[in-house]
Each structure stands twice: as structure tokens, then as C-alpha cells.
């Protein structure tokens, strides 16, 4: 395996809590046009394959991939959907270029979460239909159970989790695309309504609408087309057990194994020293800390104290979620991982505006598919 692949274009539209003025097709179109313009490519002429990510139930349409080609300029071209996290789709596009059969591939992910009237009921349909669904429990109980287990095993506190919320929402104030930036304190999170102990309402990210498109190219084409290609140096993805009864409840094994695969590929031995920023899933406050530990940014139990020390803030030793993460930007359903990756690209290009970090060369993005899954993907980029 010797081919090198870079991101040569990114485009996005949103991210907003509500988008009554545009359809999902218009969101996708805007993101696609921006990405193609950024990359300097014509989708009809230059792009050889397209990957999209979507799930039927959140779209309200069966076989949703029917509705993706037109607004991407992809009709009568190779197009397929990965029903996975945005980063799974990204990796699928990357692999197609690695084969040598393709040189330029685009990936798309979007969220029109505001169209979903009953998101918790949809989520309940993701539970095992034989063993778990008959219990008729709100799926968020899984996050409560897992958070409790994580806090108990690592000695992490609810206050430390609340600090993650405060940090990410604060970072989001510097991100013009973020929907949920705010100046809040630990007390605000601790005092918010309890959803499933110890998970409170403000420990959870809120959904936002938006779309993200990225264009990937082989080294040859990337150097021809782009002045600032961002190189993909490692990818990894993994599932743990889907069954609630047999999964590991504390360690986020999927993140550990996805990270291990990506680090091995990128030749990274000490992530904390070698990474300059990390954008990792924070669907729930504790998930940022749990994922930091699983991804070996620190040892188990250290993520909370590091957050207290400010090590993961914008000016800290290893900024985590400088974009504001899902807690600050808004959770974009399966496009969330692409939003994490988008921030890494912007930071490595030096285009992150007010929140730009100095001297960044290597960044990690990690996405998790959310409840009730144990599915995650990691991507490492270098400029």
C-alpha cells in the first residue's frame, strides 16, 4: 500500500437548529457546490465516485440513496451509500482511491434532524427487537448506565463532565457555524433536569441541521489541483458487541480499536505528544472523556483532571474539540464525524478564524454512531 491521498476540498452548509427555509437537497447542494469550488473540480468531469452516508429512518424514506445523485452532480456515476458514521463513508471514499481504480472521490453527509418529530421513538427502533425493545425503555437509559459505570470505574466526577460542556459551548462562540455556543458554568449543567442518572439534560448534545461534502484525491491529482492538500495518514474503524448484554460498558472498546488501527497506520506511538489537536465525539459530555482515554490521549481516569487543568481548552496542551464539538456545534446525526473532521481540516489549513490554533500539523477526528451502537471511526490528518 503506497498511494497517498489528500483532502483537496471541503464545503458545508449550516449548522442551525432549524432550517425551515431549505430542504435536505438544498443543504446538500450548497455544501457540494462549495466543496467542488474549493477543490477546483467539476463533478461531472472530474469526480469518479461518490459516497454518501444516511439511515432510512432518520430520513423518513426507505432506500434513501435514491435521492442523493442529482444535487451532488452524480447522476449516472458510481454512487453508493454507507449506512454508517460520516467517517465510515469518508474511509470508504479513501479506500476506493487506495485501490488505484479511482483518483478523485467525494463524500457527503447531512442532517435534517429538525424534520424528525419524534426522534426518541425512532431511536427506540434501533433497540434489539427481541430482547430489549419489549421493555419499552427510553434508549437514553443506556447513556445513563454507561456514564454511571464510567464515573464509577475511573473516579471521574459529574463536575468534570460538566466542564466539558462548558468548554465546548465556549469554544463554539468562536465558531460562526456552531448552533449552540454559550457561556455557561458547571452549575448550569449539574442543575439541569435529570434524564437518566447521572446524565442530565445539558450533558447531551442537541441536534442541528447541515450538510458537509469533502473531495479526496490521489497524490498526483491533489498536487495538481490544490495548494494546501491535507494528507490522510491513518484510518481505523471498529464495532464492539451490539448486544447490551455482552458489550463492554466502561471502556469504549470500539474507540480503542479504531484508534489503534489508525495510529498504527500513521506511525503514531504517543498520541498526546504527537497530535496537535483532537476532534472527538462528544454526543454526551462523558463521551469526550471516555473517548479521550480509549483513544490513548491519556490513561483511564486522567481525562477529567486534564479537563479541570485546562489542558484540553483552546490554549491548552492538546486542544480537544476546538470547534465546540457536538455539544457546541450541534449533533448532525451521521454527519457528526464529518463535522469533527472538517474542523481538523480547517485548523490544519489555518482557516479556523478566531479559534485558529498556532503551529498545528497533525490532528485526529473520531466519530461514534451514537446510541445504542458500539460503532466508531477514526481519521488522522497531516498538513
Amino acid at each position: 500500500m503506497s498511494r497517498e491521498v489528500a483532502i483537496i476540498g471541503v464545503g458545508y452548509s449550516g449548522f442551525r437548529a432549524l432550517t425551515p427555509d431549505v430542504s435536505y437537497k438544498e443543504l446538500m447542494y450548497e455544501a457540494a457546490v462549495k466543496a467542488y469550488d474549493d477543490a477546483g473540480v467539476d463533478p461531472r468531469r472530474d469526480i469518479e465516485s461518490f459516497v454518501t452516508v444516511a439511515e432510512d429512518f432518520t430520513e423518513g424514506t426507505s432506500i434513501f440513496d435514491e435521492y442523493v445523485p442529482d444535487q451532488l452532480g452524480a447522476a449516472l456515476k458510481p454512487v453508493h451509500t454507507i449506512s454508517g458514521e460520516g467517517l465510515h463513508g469518508f474511509i470508504a471514499a479513501y479506500l476506493q482511491i487506495l485501490t488505484g481504480a479511482m483518483d478523485i472521490v467525494a463524500v457527503e453527509g447531512h442532517s435534517k434532524a429538525s424534520n424528525i418529530l419524534t426522534p426518541n421513538d425512532i431511536l427506540a427502533y434501533a433497540m434489539d427487537p427481541i430482547y430489549n425493545r419489549p421493555l419499552r425503555a427510553n434508549p437514553y437509559f443506556i447513556a445513563g448506565l454507561e456514564m454511571n459505570r464510567y464515573l464509577c470505574e475511573t473516579g471521574t466526577t459529574r463536575e468534570q463532565c460538566a466542564l466539558v460542556v462548558a468548554k465546548n459551548k465556549h469554544n463554539a462562540l468562536y465558531n460562526p457555524t456552531a448552533a449552540y455556543g454559550a457561556n455557561i458554568g458547571v452549575e448550569d449543567v449539574l442543575q439541569s433536569e435529570m434524564v437518566s442518572y447521572p446524565l442530565s439534560r445539558m450533558d447531551m448534545s442537541l441536534h442541528a441541521d447541515g450538510a458537509i461534502v469533502m473531495v479526496l484525491a490521489s497524490r498526483e491529482r491533489a498536487e495538481e489541483l490544490s495548494d494546501s492538500p491535507i494528507w490522510i495518514t491513518g484510518v481505523g474503524w471498529c464495532n464492539d458487541s451490539f448486544s447490551l448484554e455482552t458489550r463492554d460498558w466502561s471502556g469504549a472498546i470500539y474507540a480503542a480499536k479504531a484508534g489503534e488501527m489508525a495510529y498504527r497506520m500513521a506511525g503514531i506511538r504517543s498520541p498526546w505528544q504527537e497530535l496537535d489537536l483532537a476532534e472527538i465525539d462528544d454526543t454526551f459530555s462523558y463521551k469526550e472523556l471516555q473517548h479521550m482515554e480509549a483513544l490513548r490521549l491519556c490513561r483511564p481516569g486522567e481525562a477529567g483532571p486534564l479537563t479541570e487543568d485546562g489542558a484540553t481548552e483552546l490554549g491548552g496542551e492538546l486542544p480537544v474539540n476546538p470547534s465546540g464539538g457536538s455539544l457546541g456545534v450541534g449533533h448532525l446525526l451521521d454527519a457528526s464525524g464529518l463535522a469533527r473532521l472538517l474542523e481538523v481540516v480547517l485548523q490544519l489549513r489555518g482557516e479556523a478564524g478566531q479559534r485558529q490554533l498556532p503551529d498545528v500539523e497533525t490532528g485526529l477526528a473520531f466519530g461514534w454512531r451514537g446510541l445504542p451502537t458500539t460503532s466508531g471511526a477514526a481519521v488522522i490528518l497531516n498538513n
Binding site: 500500500m1 439511515e55 432510512d56 429512518f57 432518520t58 423518513g60 424514506t61 426507505s62 432506500i63 440513496d65 435514491e66 435521492y67 442523493v68 445523485p69 442529482d70 452524480a74 447522476a75 449516472l76 456515476k77 458510481p78 454512487v79 453508493h80 451509500t81 454507507i82 449506512s83 454508517g84 465510515h88 474511509i91 470508504a92 479513501y94 479506500l95 476506493q96 487506495l98 485501490t99 488505484g100 481504480a101 425512532i122 431511536l123 427502533y125 434501533a126 434489539d128 427487537p129 427481541i130 474503524w237 471498529c238 464495532n239 464492539d240 458487541s241 451490539f242 448486544s243 455482552t246 472498546i253 470500539y254 480499536k257 479504531a258 488501527m261 454512531r369 445504542p372 451502537t373 460503532s375
Partner: protein, 390 residues
């Protein structure tokens, strides 16, 4: 640049049945286990899993791929589910191909599962939600109606009669009588039976259509160096292609599947095939309806437009003909558990090229075969070409 060679080294398949007692997860497990056993590998030898399964609405399970993942062997492994509607069954091995051809994996397990029977009262209900929510769904269209439109258009353009097309159903259901996993094999069926069956939406009649089915199929893919250690008879993936046409199907002329032609051309080019009619020895085109086999043979450039019915009538596409088509029995005979049905076609080519197809074995030692699937709103073509030697 030359591509990393990828081989199919093992295959497994559950029985195709109308209503399986097993859960979808169990079906996926059974097929995956059989495929691994067939090439004497263990789950530990597998680097990652590619899964295919069609609409979540069949099972009523959101994120169905995640639900099936551990059953399909993806516990603590890289796992992705690809999805192109009815084209999924032939796309998933393409996904497996790029996993291995990328150099990241040496061994990839490809699993396709479908359990349609959970959908009550009839799985056709799941298809009511595939239409555009603004422009089409208010009209209450159903899948059989739009395929009736397409069949009508195809017949009209080429001046065909129902009896020309019914021959396909008869051939495939008779072929399926020799398939141990088949749901609707019938050695005695006649054209009259098809023509006299209940009309569903003219010109589509009951026996023009494949049945609702539960089942799963799995393949094991391996990179060249590993494949040669696993088996003496690797079957190489010579070419892959896929294409998705516009969602606005009402703006297209339905008599010819241009997207299938685009997918086929991509696969032929990768396989270095210039004269497909001479170089492809057996074909498994997607046949959820009898006219679709004909439609697809033309899209695959294996017959001139409107000529596929003549090839069928002349016996060219019979199991003992010059170009056997659907020697497995196809979806019309073996059954149509959507994603699993597509992968069944790829498995059939694998078994035929290895000379392991038992009573279904075509004569003449075929060297190259093609499997194709189709789906979405008469919109997507997926093509894979397998070959031995070279």
C-alpha cells in the same frame, strides 16, 4: 496502475424460505459460518466485515446494520454496511473488493442478509415509503405499479408479447428445481401457468414476480498472496462497476437501463473485456421480474436492444445453451431476499467457475462469469465479473 488482485475463496448460503424461524442476526451468522467453514478459516483470520441488507423497514429495525453486526462476525472488527437498495447484494462484494484491493485488509468477510417476513401484513408495505415525499407519495404508488409501467414500455418498444417474457420465468423456476436452497423451484412449470396466473398490475402477473423471502449469503474475499494459501481454486474478481441514475425516474425512458450499461462498461474496462458476448460465459443478471432478466441482458450489452427474448426462445440462455443465464434459478426460482439474492448470484458464479454447482453445473468449463443487481427507483446497476486463471 495495476490493481491488487482479490479472490473469492469461500461461500455459504442458508436456505431461502418464505418465513424463517431464525432472527436476521442468526441468518447472518449461519451464512457467515458456512462461508468460513467452506475455506477452513476462523473468524480470527478475518480482518473486517462488509455487510449488505436492504430497507430497515422490512425488519422495523433502525440502523439494521448495527443490529446485525455481531451476528455477521464483526465483533471487535472493522465493519461497514453498504446500501444501494436492490443493487446492494452485488455492491457488497464490491465494497469487500475495495477493502482488500486498498491493501488495508487481507481477508474480508462479505455478508448479505434479508428477513422480509417480519413486515406485516406484506413486505410490499415497506416499499410505500421509497417514493419522493413531496411529488410522488401523495399519489400512493406501489412498487408493482411502477414496474408494470416499465414492463409495458419495454414490451411496447420492442413489440413483445407476454408469452415471450414468460419463458424467462419458466426457465428460471425449472433451473431452481436443482438448487437445494431454492424456495420456488418447479421442474414442471409451463408458459401457460405463467400466463394464467393472477394479474397483479397489468402486465405483471403473479408468476412474473419473485417471491417474498428470508435468507442470507456470505462470501470470503482474500488478497492474492493469502488466497493462494487458502485454496487451489481462487476465483478472481476481474472487474467491478456501479452507477446510479437520477432520482427523477419519471423523466427517463424506461425501455432501456442506461445505468446498467454504464456499470457494465466500467466493469468490462477494469476486466479488460472488449467483446462481452464472446468473453462472458455465464451470466446471473437480476431477475426479480421475468422481463428484468431480458432488460438487464440488453443493458449489459450481452444482447441487442429488444433481442434478449429471441435468445431466450432459441435456448441460448438455457443452462445448456451458449450463454447460460441464471443457471441458479435466479430470484424467480431460488427466491428474493433482496440483498442476499444479489449475493446468491455472485456465489452461483463462484460455484459454477469452480465446477462445484452440482446438478446446476453448466457444461463447457466456463472461465468468466458476470453477476448483476439492480435497485432503487429503477435507477442503480451493480456489476461484478469473476474469472478463473490469469
Amino acid at each position: 496502475m495495476s490493481l491488487r488482485k482479490v479472490a473469492v475463496v469461500g461461500a455459504g448460503m442458508t436456505k431461502f424460505v418464505r418465513r424463517a424461524q431464525e432472527t436476521g442476526k442468526e441468518l447472518a451468522y449461519e451464512a457467515a459460518k458456512m462461508a468460513l467453514d467452506s475455506c477452513e478459516l476462523k473468524l480470527d483470520d478475518v480482518d473486517g466485515v462488509a455487510l449488505g441488507t436492504a430497507p430497515d423497514a422490512f425488519d422495523g429495525v433502525h440502523m439494521k446494520g448495527e443490529y446485525l453486526s455481531d451476528g455477521a462476525g464483526a465483533w471487535r472488527k472493522p465493519f461497514m454496511r453498504s446500501y444501494v437498495g436492490g443493487g446492494t447484494g452485488v455492491f457488497t462484494p464490491i465494497q469487500g473488493w475495495y477493502h482488500v484491493a486498498s491493501g488495508l485488509f487481507d481477508v474480508c468477510l462479505v455478508v448479505c442478509e434479508e428477513k422480509m417476513s417480519s413486515c406485516q401484513p406484506h413486505p410490499q408495505g415497506a416499499f410505500l415509503t421509497i417514493f419522493d415525499h413531496t411529488t410522488e407519495r401523495p399519489l400512493g404508488p406501489n412498487l408493482l405499479w411502477i414496474f408494470a409501467l416499465e414492463m409495458n414500455r419495454y414490451m411496447h418498444m420492442h413489440g413483445l408479447q407476454k408469452k415471450d417474457i414468460a419463458l424467462v420465468s419458466v426457465k428460471n423456476k425449472r433451473n431452481a428445481a436443482d438448487h437445494p436452497c431454492a424456495l420456488l423451484g418447479d421442474p414442471n412449470i409451463t408458459v401457460e401457468d405463467v400466463l394464467n396466473s393472477e394479474v397483479l398490475a397489468w402486465p405483471v402477473q403473479r408468476l412474473d414476480v419473485s417471491p417474498v423471502t428470508d435468507g442470507a449469503v456470505a462470501l470470503v474475499l482474500a488478497a492474492e498472496n493469502v488466497a493462494k494459501r487458502i485454496t487451489d481454486k481462487p476465483v478472481w474478481i476481474k472487474g467491478v462497476g456501479w452507477a446510479l441514475d437520477t432520482a427523477y425516474w419519471t423523466n427517463r425512458d424506461l425501455y432501456y437501463p442506461k445505468y446498467v450499461e454504464y456499470a457494465a462498461r466500467m466493469a468490462y474496462e477494469m476486466a479488460g473485456i472488449r467483446e462481452p458476448r464472446k468473453e462472458i460465459h455465464i451470466v446471473e443478471p437480476y431477475d426479480p421480474f421475468d422481463y428484468k432478466e431480458l432488460h438487464h441482458l440488453e443493458g449489459l450489452l450481452l444482447a441487442d436492444k429488444g433481442e434478449a427474448p429471441r435468445l431466450t426462445a432459441e435456448g441460448v440462455t438455457a443452462r445448456t445453451g451458449d450463454m447460460p443465464v441464471c443457471p441458479s434459478g435466479g430470484l424467480l426460482g431460488v427466491g428474493n431476499p433482496i440483498a442476499a439474492a444479489g449475493l446468491m448470484k455472485v456465489a452461483e458464479i463462484f460455484w459454477q467457475l469452480r465446477g462445484e454447482a452440482g446438478k446446476r453445473q453448466v457444461p463447457g468449463k466456463p472461465v468468466t462469469g458476470l453477476a448483476q443487481a439492480w435497485g432503487d427507483l429503477m435507477q442503480v446497476g451493480t456489476v461484478i465479473i469473476l474469472g478463473i486463471g490469469g
